[in-house]
Symmetry: C2
Subunit: 397 residues, 2 copies
């Protein structure tokens, strides 16, 4: 191994069982939010051989046909026949959905600040949908201000799906995982040290042919894009050998089980909350998106080269109970100045987050594979660097 | 808010829906491992109103009666009547278990090193059961070398169950969550800033009486034990108001959805892999336990005051593809010396980890609530500081 410090992140394709669940949960959320932006949604999915089970709590005036959404998502991913291990048209779908707990609904609809302190502020109408801690992170390692290892792992996973879908590698099937180890000098990524990639495939392709094609068509083009040195990359392509059995047949999947892939690939800390299937009244999702927005704007504003922020909520209360800033010695102003500027510029009460980031729209299915962060798509409002000037002013720059 | 830096961690009781699932998955694992230590187990659980669904992949010669285990776990937790929202005797239990994928079984049984490089080393017999990244962490904030915030949140959650079980607060019901915000000066915890606690309860107790009793019997005794200053603690006890509807009726639960509570409360980074229901051939579990053991021994040996280690594997390969050490400027020797000492002293191949930590025993149900780390129980071999002398020697101390 090299003398650089090795840091590793992984990703998975949209055909991975846990990601199937995330996409089903978020597609159901989108269908509800499109019809009823005030709906309350917490939808969990489990997939296993031949079966999708959807459960959770939903309160809405909308009517959505959940089995139809499930079948559409599974087919769209590419599980369309038992050859692939799963079939959207013929799989079993069972649904166990109840209403949101009336205790939770009541506690969240009228925040602690209003109930107990008599606040009249309209942003104190809505309490946090749960307790919890959320982190946000940004680093100037890439133009999108994402850590380089997860960026690379995602791009390889995306490319793996692309060449399956466009027919250039027709022996590929939907399930797949990627993993990238980089060599760092201090906090600067220098080299790619190893790439691990496992992909489901048609039984008739040899591992030798698969490895050569995947390296040439999938891995190498992405590694070129990183701009990193590639002195002596170790490639492990299907290191366990054949991978014909895949999808829910090879491994049961659950919503919310890829939370590090969904965020920063382990480069940042994590509060533990999952995203998919949750409407933005749940701070697990909305506050984590807000903290990415906060961290990214702070790095874009030049307050630090690398920044991690933590926030914490109490269920039913609007204002956070904690805020923590860590700049890892890369700050261009003192951490206290960064903290004060963030408090000045960002209103972190749930209702304010939802308004500022315009979160009551059906935008979530697109977030459920290849990362919630670092993809500068029009609907990913939390990726916008639209608070840079305000932050610089607040920090006296 | 105080001028200290605020850091927050949370915990939940054994009655929380996600934790019910973790305990079911690990109790099934224990039953199999007790009868067949070579069994391969990956069991996921979903709970929702009136229903437990168990799914996954199991290959074993043992016969275990899964519905009976499920009912026993649910009853043991305290969900024994529809009053509490769930009833172990009358809930539905559905089981969808298949065999481990023969592709995975073959790829893991004979590691890459043997298959492709012809190694004869017995520890190269077994490859990693999956790709992935795992972190380990230790800090001298507490005698168990755990971060203080998660330690405190766990002890409050444990105490909440204790006073429910021993009858001292008979109005309590099993579901509950805790959260603790500490004030840090640099990296030293100084004060308790706020405590959030939500607990399910009998409908006849008033919030006022509940708050007073919980504060006196549950929170205050634990805060005293921390030795921290308590200048102006904010208490949020049932901040959303009544919490009668609880357990799976209030919120669906899934295995592996409390991975930050299971580990370091967000004080350390996380690789994303869950633990419960996985036999130790899965490095998500065994290597995360090993990394805790590595970090704890290194801090106990005085190599650093605070240490985070990351390791990464490729599926089917025995040797890790990456190792990363971060001492946050608290090292008493250089990071390279720490890394070299760890490489010297610890064999991180899956088979070696399983042997060194004696992991093929039915010890997992006990890990599935109140934290996998920082509890120095006899079976928690990964908490032993039994490599201190070797590490000191390897680091030249
Ligand atoms: C290895 S499985 C997890 C372990 C599995 N539950 C078991 O019982 O062995 C995790 C993921 O690896 C991928 N996978 C499945 N079969 C594989 C194979 N033969 N080789 C490599 N990766 C595979 C799939 O993406 C799957 O979701
Ligand atoms: C708030 S729920 C998550 C949101 C929920 N799925 C929904 O649809 O609103 C998360 C956890 O909070 C706890 N909880 C349930 N009801 C509660 C209440 N009324 N007040 C406070 N905490 C509650 C339980 O431990 C539950 O598992």
């Amino acid at each position: 191994m090299s003398q650089l410090r090795l840091f590793t992140s992984e990703s998975v394709t949209e055909g991975h069982p846990d990601k199937i669940c995330d996409q089903i949960s978020d597609s159901i959320l989108d269908a509800i939010i499109a019809a009823d932006p005030d709906g309350r949604v917490a939808v969990e999915t489990l997939v296993t051989t031949g079966l999708v089970h959807v459960a959770g709590e939903v309160s809405t005036s909308a009517y959505v046909e959940i089995p139809a959404i499930v079948r559409e998502v599974v087919n769209r991913i590419g599980y369309t026949s038992s050859d692939t291990g799963f079939d959207g048209d013929s799989c079993g779908v069972s649904v166990s959905i109840g209403a949101q707990s009336s205790d939770i609904a009541a506690g969240v609809a009228k925040a602690f600040e209003r109930r107990e302190d008599g606040s009249e502020d309209p942003h104190d109408l809505q309490g946090a949908g749960d307790q919890g801690i959320m982190f946000g992170y940004a680093t100037n390692e890439t133009p999108e201000l994402m850590p380089m290892a997860i960026w690379t792992a995602h791009r390889i996973a995306e490319r793996l799906s692309e060449v399956r879908r466009d027919g250039s590698l027709p022996f590929l099937r939907p399930d797949g995982k990627t993993q990238v180890t980089l060599g760092y000098e201090g906090s600067v990524p220098k080299t790619v040290e190893s790439v691990v990639l496992s992909t489901q495939h048609h039984p008739d392709i040899s591992q030798k042919a698969l490895r050569a094609a995947v390296r040439a068509e999938v891995i190498d083009p992405v590694l070129e894009r990183t701009g990193l040195e590639l002195p002596d990359v170790s490639y492990y392509i299907n290191p366990a050998g054949p991978f014909v059995i895949g999808g829910p047949k090879g491994d049961a999947g659950l919503t919310g089980r890829k939370i590090i892939i969904d965020t920063y690939g382990g480069a940042s800390r994590h509060g533990g909350g999952a995203f998919s299937g949750k409407d933005p009244s749940k701070v697990d999702r909305s506050a984590a998106y807000a903290m990415r927005w906060v961290a990214k704007n702070a790095v874009a504003a030049g307050l630090a080269d690398r920044l991690e922020v933590q926030v914490a909520y109490a269920i039913g209360k609007a204002k956070p109970v904690g805020l923590y800033v860590e700049s890892f010695g890369t700050g261009h102003v003192a951490d206290e100045v960064i903290t004060a500027a963030i408090r000045d510029v960002f209103d972190l009460r749930p209702k304010a987050i939802i308004e500022q980031l315009d979160l009551l729209r059906p935008i979530y299915a697109a977030t459920a594979a290849y990362g919630h962060f670092g993809r500068e798509l029009p609907d990913f409002t939390w990726e916008r660097t639209d608070r840079v000037e305000e932050l610089r002013a607040a920090a006296g720059l």
